[in-house]
Symmetry: D2
Subunit: 279 residues, 4 copies
Amino acid sequence: MTRDTVGGGDRQAAAEWWHTDIIDMEPNRITFRGYPVEDLIGRVSFVEMIWFMVVGVMPTPGQAKLIEAALVSGVDHGPQAPSIAIARMSMTCGGSLNNAMASAVNVLDDIHGGAGEQAIGLFRDIEQRTNERVDIAGACREGLAAWRHAHGPIVPGFGHRFHQIDPRAPRLMGLVAEAAETGDVSGRFAAVAKEIETQLGEAKGRPIPLNIDGATAVIFSELGLPAPLGRGLFCLSRSVGILAHAWEQQTQGGRNKGPLPKGWLWQYDGQSTRPYPSR
Amino acid sequence: MTRDTVGGGDRQAAAEWWHTDIIDMEPNRITFRGYPVEDLIGRVSFVEMIWFMVVGVMPTPGQAKLIEAALVSGVDHGPQAPSIAIARMSMTCGGSLNNAMASAVNVLDDIHGGAGEQAIGLFRDIEQRTNERVDIAGACREGLAAWRHAHGPIVPGFGHRFHQIDPRAPRLMGLVAEAAETGDVSGRFAAVAKEIETQLGEAKGRPIPLNIDGATAVIFSELGLPAPLGRGLFCLSRSVGILAHAWEQQTQGGRNKGPLPKGWLWQYDGQSTRPYPSR
Amino acid sequence: MTRDTVGGGDRQAAAEWWHTDIIDMEPNRITFRGYPVEDLIGRVSFVEMIWFMVVGVMPTPGQAKLIEAALVSGVDHGPQAPSIAIARMSMTCGGSLNNAMASAVNVLDDIHGGAGEQAIGLFRDIEQRTNERVDIAGACREGLAAWRHAHGPIVPGFGHRFHQIDPRAPRLMGLVAEAAETGDVSGRFAAVAKEIETQLGEAKGRPIPLNIDGATAVIFSELGLPAPLGRGLFCLSRSVGILAHAWEQQTQGGRNKGPLPKGWLWQYDGQSTRPYPSR
Amino acid sequence: MTRDTVGGGDRQAAAEWWHTDIIDMEPNRITFRGYPVEDLIGRVSFVEMIWFMVVGVMPTPGQAKLIEAALVSGVDHGPQAPSIAIARMSMTCGGSLNNAMASAVNVLDDIHGGAGEQAIGLFRDIEQRTNERVDIAGACREGLAAWRHAHGPIVPGFGHRFHQIDPRAPRLMGLVAEAAETGDVSGRFAAVAKEIETQLGEAKGRPIPLNIDGATAVIFSELGLPAPLGRGLFCLSRSVGILAHAWEQQTQGGRNKGPLPKGWLWQYDGQSTRPYPSR
């Protein structure tokens, strides 16, 4: 439904240029997808509001519990993660928390923040390959082959360079199993992830277990989230750790914090010292 | 407590360079301020996790409800807000959601995102001025005078350029009143804000009501939040609307979305056209 | 050549982690790719320094003239460009010039800043298709077909949504022609671009002339620049206009500058106002 | 002078909202402060264009030489500088060069990028204190006292935490001296800086020599640059090193480059491991 717009003509064209389904506003009135803001404040949780704003529907309580769990699990992975290190370094350069958060969230890109998005795409592709003739094992084989043909050998959502078993994944998968029992989710994507894990382990001869990106991708796939929003929600989640570390750094102090202790130098591998030729 | 560090010497110096109280990690183990991550997932809400990560303590249920309300209330104020417009424009330039979120959060600076932080500082200053001899009205007069002397005439957290009554503020203040009755907060900062509102209205001869920045500042002041984190938590809140709008823009499509409809031009006020002089 | 590193062991591992060929440093000594900084200051131009730092070789004077021209031509395309608008909006939100520059440069992504990079890739691909059996026209036909198969119908570097003839392109191509006469460049990539322009125009039945992205891509291809650096150098160039507009906005003043004049609203196309259901 | 604007009314209001003196445009025509772009390309250097765009006047050849020197001198200070480290880390997270440049430029804030701006302010303040009664030594004493009263003990532009003598500073000051001899600059600000250096050294009992921020601040003060643009031009200069390092990192490869070698951990100083209490 379209609000009446005073003015018409050019002003209407400008209003259309910025059209949205998300928020409507008049003086003293703000509605989000139709609900007055004062109805939402105090009645919906922050996580329900996140889902409602981004996806457009209000989650059920059982779904909200899964979303809470996914968002809690990704907040931080320590200062060796580029996002967290950058947050801390930024705060020693003189800007404010919003600037540090921006520089840090900016690096949650394809490699640092994209695995969940990619895993949702993979899981969904495999789920759609299952049908009367193709069982889940066959669909996984097909889907994994197609993924590797298009994207190379790394399968997103499995294995971890630091943990043998990522402690967040089994806990999240336990919650998905509970939600499948109560009918809040179907459990189909949990089954897909389990089968991929089995096939990867058999091929490698050692376990390549589901990691946090894979486990949150199961949750978001079960809830019907468009794949790119997997990255978007991870950005919201990691922003918490980014903020916590930026703030801790501010309380610790320091100026122009480099990656290594003060006075340490990098290794130079380039040209020997040489005079610049006169011309 | 300090984890044993293998290596010592230079490696220990590097570990110290990145010391933190927030997160500890070993292969297959992650703890946040001492709690294993698998204990937290599924048991604490995202908002409890936010507060615990950033402030260091777990909020009570009554406090968590206020924090939920504050975070829900700030998610979005429409495409006329620079943060939201920038999120939408960014998504048409070819980057990913994390990039759009970064450029948008980056502008939540002193003017666009700093009023809450400033209001916390003002409220706290006034609260500390009250004592046996100075009542809240006197402390407000002193505090407002000190603020204006240092920062100029604009009092953060009051009045709105668009709304006469910001619909979010009374709802938030109602929740603070409820929490004061149950003892989850003291209500002292709500009283400070109310008195400021009264004094501003009397001086202007018309109401200058509390706005969302002031109302969330009351909540955060009641909960003992350091002032700069008022901005930090607003960044988390507004990131939700930023993500929602960035994603909606992506589904709408468009390339290189400028501020005005395609083909419209800006007004040029500079030098007339002139040939570049030969030299 | 590797500088001696005091310490060895862990400290050496940390130094290697940050190894570079670009800069070496000791107290009171800085060298860039071997040249002492004090040799370069006052003797090389900023553009020569840019090329030397990024590409690793010092350009000839004739090459430097082309690089100057390419960098001059891309500085600004007015406030309808998202990068320029974002720079101006950012400056009204309370941050500093570096913050505004960051948010603005961030959007010079695949669509807003990637055409030059893509055109270099296309030109280089076509140039490599020419051989004893395939003339330039044939190579263009092959290369354009391959490009469209991989990337869709839009050919980067040709046509403009605002200009029929982009006034920067013919001027730049004139300079390339001069440099080809003096032997500073081969002119092979100018010929490729000319042939693409011809083929696109014949197919469309109207001219689809080379634009600034195409013309700078010709220059950078002639000079052997890796394609991604086409975007990188455009970022340096556009940063000039970004800075100029951010600063002009600061002198104009304004707070929280939205895309449309104050008081204008966007069009809302979503759900009608509805009460939030009690649960 | 104002271009005729087709439309009037609301469209004119939108055009005014984005008014500028910098660039005018019609189809097939682009002018910068009145000069057609095709006049500038091939005739002005990139540095002349930078100054013309940002400051509004074309520098003399002698002035342009100083600006070239200032911009050359600040391009890079190695991977221990947060800006350079962030550029390198960002490139391993999956984004493009523009994203890495954005995150890196963003940290050139008050501490990492603001010293030049602050030094210009200090030099200008001191220069204005000199008059018939107050000589330069007296003005320096007054100006330094006022600076310290307002900003604390650190005097911007002098001393260096790594170099005893910053090798860039004497070279830049030599060029300023040459320009003063030819009349391209007055030399007044070089004298101010020299006097500050003397007074700081006498007070400390050891040399606190001018550093690069101070030397470039002398140049920019001599040329009449508004202080905030000192930071802006440093951002342009350092963007060169940022780009060079981001690109080198891309050619080196790596994924999610943390600050320390892979497998190294930070020191944890927080709460011991504890179970999360049941509630």
